[in-house]
Symmetry: C2
Subunit: 203 residues, 2 copies
DNA sequence: GTCTATATGGCGATAGAC
DNA sequence: GTCTATCGCCATATAGAC
């Protein structure tokens, strides 16, 4: 049980993670990954045989990071306000730490959407459970009656989109002031929660 | 003034538009564009000199399609409900006709965000005007007081995201039933409008 | 203007020494 | 396991005939 932190394999994984996350499969070069790992190209193939195989190994890991565990929040015996608030906070925190994830997923999603869906399911996230939870809230009269899928899509979109489209929105709305945009994104933990609650709650 | 519709240059532009839109710059091949245009690769270079130059010529055109003219709606003397409704309908109609545009923009946005912002401005869309319009509504007490940028980002995100993430959402929420998802997207001309109005209107 | 043929360069992948 | 050197392919780009 030697320390694996600085093993060659781990250095490759770390470097490939960084490069693939920023540039995607097509945009990445094996040479660049090798340079970043401080080794040569041949070793990449020695450990992972092909660029495709290396990407697949990294891909699963990136996707896993992209879906934080929300079961505890969504299925808990809490008022729906708290569930929404918890969801928004967890996702915005995750993306603040991993700002390249949303664009990466949207970029690579067409490569194998079925695989991504499988990873989501394996994270224990079951859309049907969330939908039926929302339907119960509607039946109980706490939230407006509507297609529960609308709520899910709107919630996810409101949280993810400003990160995925950050480069454009930053220019259009903040004249390229990056600090102001970061603050704006962070504020959204509160403002998005309010926005959604205003849209769906019956009070 | 001969008819230019079937000129070689136009055939190249049409073919390049289709291929670049679906696959992006990195994912597209000059050979594929030549095949689709019914000519050979050499002619592409004869007319546009390089792949990069050809892409830039097409890029501007794609971006222009992505921002339909909304000045008439946003700046008109209409109640804010009608402005929101008009915006949502125009954008969803545009994306239903050009489903590859959202993913294309998010994919290519990092290549030259400044250029995209310039095209948006050249379309006559002035974010500052929209922001001040929203602020007037807040001062008049028709909509809730909040950062008007939140409204703009939320509006754009709610409209675009379900198209950009269609492959994933289609699996997760509709078990890959594409027809159901198309109907869902079309219904959103109404449901997104309602959702936003509930979120921002004071009544 | 349009074609065929070919040059040029880059990148993934492999061979083989150490 | 790690390296250098090189192969082989594919994609962009050019040369030159027609």
């Amino acid at each position: 049980m030697t320390d694996q932190k600085d093993s060659t394999e781990q250095k490759i994984i770390d470097a490939a993670h960084e490069v693939f996350l920023k540039k995607g499969l097509d945009g990445s070069r094996m040479q660049e990954i090798a340079n970043m790992a401080g080794i040569n190209k041949a070793l990449l193939h020695y450990y992972f045989r092909s660029k495709q195989k290396l990407f697949e190994a990294i891909f699963k890991n990136i996707i896993a990071h992209a879906f934080p565990d929300i079961r505890g929040i969504i299925m808990a015996d809490l008022p729906v306000e708290e569930k929404i608030r918890g969801f928004v906070e967890k996702y915005i925190d995750m993306m603040a730490k991993n700002p390249y994830i949303p664009a990466f997923i949207l970029k690579e999603i067409n490569r194998d959407p079925e695989f991504i869906a499988g990873v989501i399911r394996s994270q224990g996230i079951n859309p049907a459970d969330i939908l039926s939870m929302l339907e119960k809230e509607m039946a109980a009269g706490t939230i407006r009656k509507m297609n529960p899928r609308e709520i899910m899509v709107n919630l996810i979109g409101l949280v993810i989109f400003p990160f995925a489209a950050a480069p454009m929105l930053n220019i259009i709305l903040f004249n390229s002031n990056k600090k102001a945009y970061r603050e704006f994104l962070n504020d959204r933990k509160i403002t998005v929660t309010e926005f959604i609650l205003n849209a769906i709650l019956i009070r």
